[in-house]
Every structure is written in structure tokens, then in C-alpha cells.
């Protein structure tokens, strides 16, 4: 599979795209910046910056509070943004809840379930009540955001946390999942695309398996929604989470998707203004989804910015975005595999992966690798990428990760791999290698 042979439609116009991103026109240490850390956070096009600014200069006001003309304008913009995001991921408007980030979105589910187990939420919250004997299933490859909230839920409810094991390359398949998911399973949480290995999970198979046991499915879609066409209804998951800042949108806003009847029954963990119908000194009654979860003043301009980011991606066409990244992923795997003394984490050539490559250079600490690349103008991520258990399983403490997005060029990927090839010599490491 070569880089060129995969193109099936009109490719992205990279030169034109890059003109929209002021950040990318900068230099780093005397070199043109090669920003290869979009897996951590993406940069924003002027269209998104302009949309948020225009809103703030002309339309900003409280939303869902009061009844002034200004509130009407801001509320309409805010709810239109929700409708735009809903359409983008195959959801109904009431199925899109604004959170602070994806981490918060996952916590809304985990904390709501803990509240249900503590007796809140009435009979309709029964589906969320866990206790001793019940099992929560994650994978060994999860981001801490999709692991620790479930550890805490287990600790609070007495349920048991189990995990789908990964192979030596950090990936897993439906057989691994079937070895763990069973009749005690009440919830299965896993990443659609791994932020370390780029592994693409067999979502519909896991959903089928989980639903056969009446278990809920929570999908961490942080590394999928920004990069590939994603339809939660078609995937069949019960909940999903993603962040705006990884998809050209603002920080400070994430999205929780949930099936409407589940969201309406989930106790809101975070409470406050705008979430209620009637409040007495003794108790409060909550609105249905999404308002029951959006306590306090909402990230309004951020929702407007995110909607503009979605429109930007829709104009590019998510199918073409995906193809672009499939090509870059193949190029990464191909080039990294040729470098002596460098270990690529995850599957090798021929297996689809997200457009990212985490590597280990035995004998050189990841932070030193990253520093060397940095000196060449190449910005990558080093560390455990919030996946310590996966790194431990792979016998590693930290890796160096390059990750791509709509604006990433093949040339930038080649600069990364070329510099990577020089690391061992610079640090005086020689001899046999992994």
C-alpha cells in the first residue's frame, strides 16, 4: 500500500487550508513550524476565531435566562450551534450536552451513575444503579479520562472494574473483548481510536456484544469525531464524548452524546441554575436533557465557535479529511519502520490507524527525543499521553508521538521521520536495537 495509491477522491487543498491557520505560519527554533501535536490540541482557523469574536462583539448575552431581545439572539445562536453539532454526529438536538471537555463529558456519566447508586434520580435511574457483583469493563489501552472515572465509580458502588487486555503491540480485537464482557457486565467504556496506538476499535461488534448482556456502552470519541465521519446512532453506542479543541474549535467546551431517554433519566451530578423546573429550600426538580446537565452559565461563545469549526470541517468534507489522514498514517508507518533503532507502537503496515505514530527510541528518553525534534522546528508530544497503564503494559514509561490533522502535510511527516533518524547519533546511542 503506497501513499499515492490510496487517493480515491479529490484530495484536500493543503495550501489553501494552511492559509486559514495563522498559528501554522510561525517559526520554531529557526525552522518553519511543523505542528505534529494535533492529537493533543488542534489549532483554529480564522473562520472559527472570527465567528467567536463576532458573536462576542454583537450577540453575546445570557442564554435561557430572561426574555430580552438580546437573550433571544444569544439563545438562538447557542441552540443553533447544538443543532449543527448534533447533525454532524448523527444525533438529535436533545442528545447533545455541552460539557467542559471530553473528560468532563465522561465524568457526567460516571458521576451521574454514582449519584443513582447513592439513591438519587428515582425509579427511572434504575438502569444506572450499580452495586457489588456488577462489572464495569474498560480496556488496558484507555486514556486516563476513560479509566479513572470508572475506577472511582467502582470504588463508590462496590462494582468491579475489569479490563479488556491488549496484545504486545497495544491493540485488541473483539475476541479480547468477548473474554471479559459477560452477564455481569453493566457498562463497557472504550476509545473509538486510541491516542497512543491509533488503533481503531471494532465499535459495532462491541456494542452488539454489550447490548446482548444489556450493558451500556460509552464511547470515547476524542480521536474519531475530529478525524472521520462519525454517526453515533449508526454505531449504536449509548453515550459518547469528544472535545472541541481537538477539532479546530475552542477550548472550554466538550460534548456528551447520549441517547435521549438515557440522558433524561441520568441524575445530573453538577447542579445549579438553568437546570431546574421547581426549587424549594428542601429539593429541586430537573429539566429534561440537555438542560438538566448544563448548570450555570454555559460556554456560549465556545458553542458558537465549535459550530463554525464543524461547518469548516463539513466544507472540507469529512470523507476527504479521513482519506487525507489514512494517507498520512500509512506514510508515518512506512517511514518510521525504516528507521533503525526505533520502535513503533501499535500495528504495522496494512492495518488502518489514526494519523498518529508513537515511537520509542531505546536508550534515549522520550523527552530528549522530543527536545531534539523541537530544535528542528518539529513540535511533537512526549510522555505517557495520559495512558500510563498501556505504556507499562508495553514495557515503556514514555513515548514520542507525532499526530496529524487536516493541515498536516506529507512533507511535515517526512521532516519528523528524518529528524527521528538522527536522534540516536546525537545522543551517542549505538548498537543493536529493538
Amino acid at each position: 500500500m503506497t501513499f499515492e495509491s490510496m487517493t480515491t477522491s479529490q484530495p484536500l487543498d493543503l495550501a489553501s487550508i494552511r492559509r486559514d491557520f495563522p498559528y501554522l505560519a510561525q517559526e520554531l527554533n529557526g525552522f518553519p513550524l511543523a505542528y505534529l501535536d494535533s492529537g493533543a490540541t488542534a489549532q483554529r482557523p480564522v473562520q472559527v476565531l472570527d465567528a467567536e469574536r463576532a458573536f462576542l462583539e454583537h450577540a453575546n448575552a445570557a442564554v435561557h435566562r430572561g426574555a430580552s431581545t438580546l437573550v433571544g439572539t444569544s439563545t438562538t445562536a447557542f441552540e443553533d450551534a447544538r443543532a449543527t453539532v448534533a447533525r454532524f454526529v448523527g444525533a438529535g438536538e436533545r442528545e447533545i450536552v455541552w460539557a467542559e471537555n471530553a473528560t468532563d463529558a465522561i465524568n457526567i456519566v460516571a458521576l451521574g451513575m454514582a449519584d443513582a447508586a447513592a439513591g438519587l434520580g428515582g425509579a427511572e435511574a434504575d438502569v444506572f444503579r450499580l452495586g457489588p457483583g456488577d462489572e464495569i469493563v474498560v480496556t488496558e489501552a484507555e486514556h486516563h479520562a476513560n479509566l479513572i472515572p470508572w475506577q472511582r465509580l467502582a470504588a463508590k458502588t462496590g462494582a468491579t472494574l475489569r479490563w479488556i487486555p491488549v496484545d504486545d503491540d497495544g491493540t485488541w480485537n473483539i475476541d479480547h473483548a468477548a473474554s471479559v464482557i459477560g452477564e455481569k457486565t453493566r457498562l463497557v467504556a472504550f476509545a473509538h481510536v486510541s491516542n497512543v496506538t491509533g488503533h481503531v476499535a471494532p465499535v459495532t461488534d462491541v456494542v452488539e456484544l454489550a447490548h446482548r448482556h444489556a450493558a451500556l456502552v460509552v464511547l470515547d470519541a476524542c480521536q474519531s469525531v475530529p478525524h472521520r465521519p462519525t454517526d453515533f446512532a449508526a454505531l449504536g453506542v449509548d453515550f459518547a464524548a469528544f472535545s472541541a479543541h481537538k477539532m479546530l474549535g475552542p477550548n472550554g467546551i466538550g460534548v456528551l452524546y447520549g441517547r435521549a431517554h438515557l440522558l433524561d433519566a441520568l441524575p445530573p451530578a453538577r447542579t445549579g441554575g438553568s437546570t431546574i423546573t421547581t426549587v424549594t429550600m428542601e429539593a429541586a426538580e430537573f429539566l429534561p436533557s440537555p438542560q438538566r446537565f448544563e448548570a450555570g452559565t454555559q460556554p456560549v461563545s465556545q458553542a458558537v465557535g465549535l459550530a463554525e469549526a464543524v461547518r469548516y470541517l463539513e466544507r472540507l468534507d469529512m470523507h476527504r479529511v479521513h482519506e487525507h489522514e489514512v494517507e498520512l498514517a500509512a506514510l508515518m508507518v512506512d517511514e518510521v519502520s525504516r528507521i533503525p533503532g526505533v520502535r513503533l507502537v501499535g500495528s504495522g503496515a496494512g492495518v488502518e490507524r489514526g494519523a498518529l505514530a508513537s515511537v520509542d527510541v531505546p536508550g534515549v528518553h522520550a523527552h530528549d527525543v522530543g527536545q531534539f525534534l523541537d530544535s528542528r522546528g518539529i513540535a511533537v508530544r512526549v510522555g505517557h499521553h495520559c495512558a500510563q497503564p498501556l505504556h507499562r503494559r508495553l514495557g515503556l514509561r514514555a513515548t514520542t508521538r507525532a499526530s496529524a490533522y487536516v493541515y498536516t502535510t506529507a512533507d511535515e511527516v517526512r521532516r519528523f521521520t528524518a529528524a527521528l533518524g538522527e536522534v540516536r547519533a546525537f545522543f551517542g546511542v549505538t548498537g543493536a536495537s529493538a
Partner: protein, 171 residues
């Protein structure tokens, strides 16, 4: 005063004081409670059909709210009492379309009569829900009463709560 008089038409201010139908209805076939989360205002509307189950015999409501919501409940009562169930459904649909029009188009005066006075409300997104409050309650009552009548001719009142509208849907 900009076009405030387009919102507060004489007929609306007048109905908001007359409040036709204000008061609990005895022996309703259905009754429904509706709340406007923006302001916390509430209305409980009761509906009785005639013996044949095809005509609205009586409507009564209790509630507290702004002039628009009170006038709307009052105008509703005047319009629907004595009407065929099928016609009332047309009225509800027509009223809702008018309120969702954001001020566009001409309302259907033949169908809606005096209620076209509420056309002006459709330009005020935050007030649409006020005008719709009693109509949403009426629709829920109608569904419940008809369902109950179908299941067993003349059952006790069913109290229902309509499912939530989408967040950007005002009514």
C-alpha cells in the same frame, strides 16, 4: 416604542384581563400541567368532551403567567369550546405554525379568527413559549381524552405530561 403594539395587540391585553375559562374544570376527561422553564410559569388545563366524544364540551384552566400566556389560554377557550375534535386539531396546528413563523407570512384568519392577534408574538423568540403554553396542554389533553375514550368509553381523567420539546424548539 418600536413595534411593541404588534406584540401587545388590544385583543391580547383585553383577553389577559378577561381570562375566559379561568378556573378548574369539574369532571374533566383529561387534564394536563405544563410549565415554562424560562419563567417558571405554570398552567393546568382540563378538557371535557361531549357524550359522543367528538366535540369539545368544556375547557377550564388554572395558572399564573404573563399577559401573553393568560391571553392565549383565554382566546383558546373561546375558540375551541363547542368545536369538533378534528377542527381543534387543525386549530392547534395552525396556531403552532403561526407562532413558529418568526413573523413571516400571513396567518390564516379563516381558521384562527381572533387568535391571529398572536401572530406578532412569533417575532419574539423568548415569548413564543408563553403563547403556546396552554395550546401544548390542550393538545396533550386531547390525545389523552381520545385515547381513553377509545380504550373504554368514559374513563376517569388521565393526567399526562407531554414529552420535552427540543432545546431550540420554543413550543
Amino acid at each position: 416604542m418600536s413595534d411593541l403594539s404588534g406584540l401587545y395587540q388590544e385583543l391580547i391585553l383585553d383577553h389577559s384581563k378577561r381570562r375566559v375559562g379561568d378556573g378548574a374544570l369539574a369532571d374533566p376527561h383529561a387534564s394536563h400541567h405544563e410549565l415554562n422553564p424560562t419563567c417558571g410559569d405554570e398552567i393546568t388545563l382540563g378538557l371535557r368532551l361531549d357524550a359522543s366524544g367528538t366535540k369539545v364540551e368544556a375547557v377550564g384552566w388554572q395558572g399564573d403567567g404573563c399577559s401573553i400566556s393568560m391571553a392565549s389560554a383565554s382566546a383558546l377557550t373561546e375558540l375551541v369550546v363547542g368545536s369538533d375534535v378534528a377542527h381543534v386539531r387543525e386549530l392547534i396546528d395552525g396556531f403552532r405554525s403561526m407562532l413558529r413563523s418568526q413573523g413571516a407570512g400571513e396567518p390564516d384568519e379563516d381558521l384562527l379568527g381572533d387568535a391571529i392577534a398572536f401572530h406578532g408574538v412569533s417575532k419574539y423568540v423568548m415569548r413564543v413559549k408563553c403563547a403556546m403554553l396552554s395550546w401544548v396542554a390542550l393538545e396533550a389533553c386531547l390525545n389523552a381524552a381520545v385515547a381513553a375514550a377509545g380504550a373504554a368509553h368514559a374513563v376517569p381523567a388521565g393526567v399526562t405530561d407531554a414529552s420535552a420539546p427540543t432545546p431550540s424548539e420554543q413550543a
